[in-house]
Symmetry: C2
Subunit: 212 residues, 2 copies
């Protein structure tokens, strides 16, 4: 299981006051600006232009070799409670996943088949069954934890995350949703570092679930 | 003004439950283990052995070109309130500073001249006078903010820090004293990254005191 996520220098992966208009909170989009200007991300989105360089290389690398994604209900969106069947995610008809995606929810829903190979599957019995189903769907490719923070925390706490690739963005949000809170005391090892003027990418291997 | 400091992956520069026996809190020493094994730090301490490599290079680099230090009362130690005149810091007769050190305190005390060129000066009228005195003492060399967290935060908040060199240690402390809290919204730029299997060193230039 792997996860790659953009994080502020003070540890937030979303800003405060998340809302339908501002799904990653006030200032949260500042964490993602680095990727939108890369040639590699733009190609993945069917857009022209963008810059080559280390950030673009990383944006390409993190999209490779993934056979399934897991995400939380809030990241899929549509508000809490029973499903509005009209809601099909934030990403339009052709989401950027192109694999099965397992959405953690308390509310059952039939799978949604989108264009481009993305299928959203709704898992109501918790993180472990979601991990099992994603593992089976991914075959010999990786399972990526797409987010948000609470889903990543659950996977780390369960001792099931093998690799955490942080994109450390030099902004201070001051408030919002922290990634590394209530995750116990995992032992990590930096195995790859990529530097650019915009962001520092550090890939950690999680060596053991706890230090003690 | 510069600052270099070791920080956990979850943003703490000291662990919880700081005490006389455990001055940087439970687990806080895990943030500093990387430096104790470097050849360069050991040479500075008059010790033999240690390993060369990127961490040693950084440990050498951060000790160069400094003409004065500033530190908080808690970092100097000796407990709160009126001074115990017997207390001369944690570092013995020959502290590792070798320059004037300006200690922020509410309680006046005569300067302490130590071996090896270190003089502790006690400044009772706040951070700005301390910065001025340190600046004057340093001449054309740098002023380094030695710590702890609240002193660094004050200097960042005052818009007076030019460079923040973080040694990001891959441990999760879970609690303790955070560095980047209540510091406003500075704009930073990573200008140097040094990677090792133990720690990732990122030097940030503080471009502007606020983003807004």
């Amino acid at each position: 299981m792997t996860c790659q996520i953009s994080i502020s220098l003070d540890g937030f992966v979303a800003g405060p006051d998340q809302s339908l208009e501002n799904p990653i909170g006030v200032g949260g989009m500042r964490l993602h600006e680095w990727v939108f200007t890369t040639a590699s991300w733009r190609r993945q989105e069917g857009l022209a232009g963008g810059a080559d360089g280390p950030d673009s290389d990383v944006a390409g690398e993190v999209a490779q070799g993934i056979g399934a994604y897991i995400m939380g209900r809030k990241m899929f969106g549509g508000g809490p409670g029973e499903w509005d069947q009209e809601w099909r995610g934030w990403w339009g008809d052709d989401p950027p996943y192109h694999t099965p995606v397992f959405v953690l929810t308390h509310h059952p829903r039939e799978p949604l088949t989108m264009k481009g190979g993305t299928t959203f599957n709704f898992v109501t019995d918790g993180i472990e069954p979601a991990l099992e189903q994603a593992r089976a769907a991914a075959g010999d490719r990786n399972v990526s934890i797409a987010g948000g923070a609470s889903t990543v925390r659950q996977v780390i706490s369960a001792g099931r995350l093998d690799e955490l690739y942080l994109h450390i963005v030099p902004v201070v949000l001051g408030a919002g949703e922290r990634l590394l809170e209530d995750v116990g005391d995992p032992v990590l090892e930096p195995v790859k570092v990529v530097a650019s003027p915009s962001v520092t990418h550090i890939k950690y291997r999680i060596v053991r679930p706890t230090h003690a």
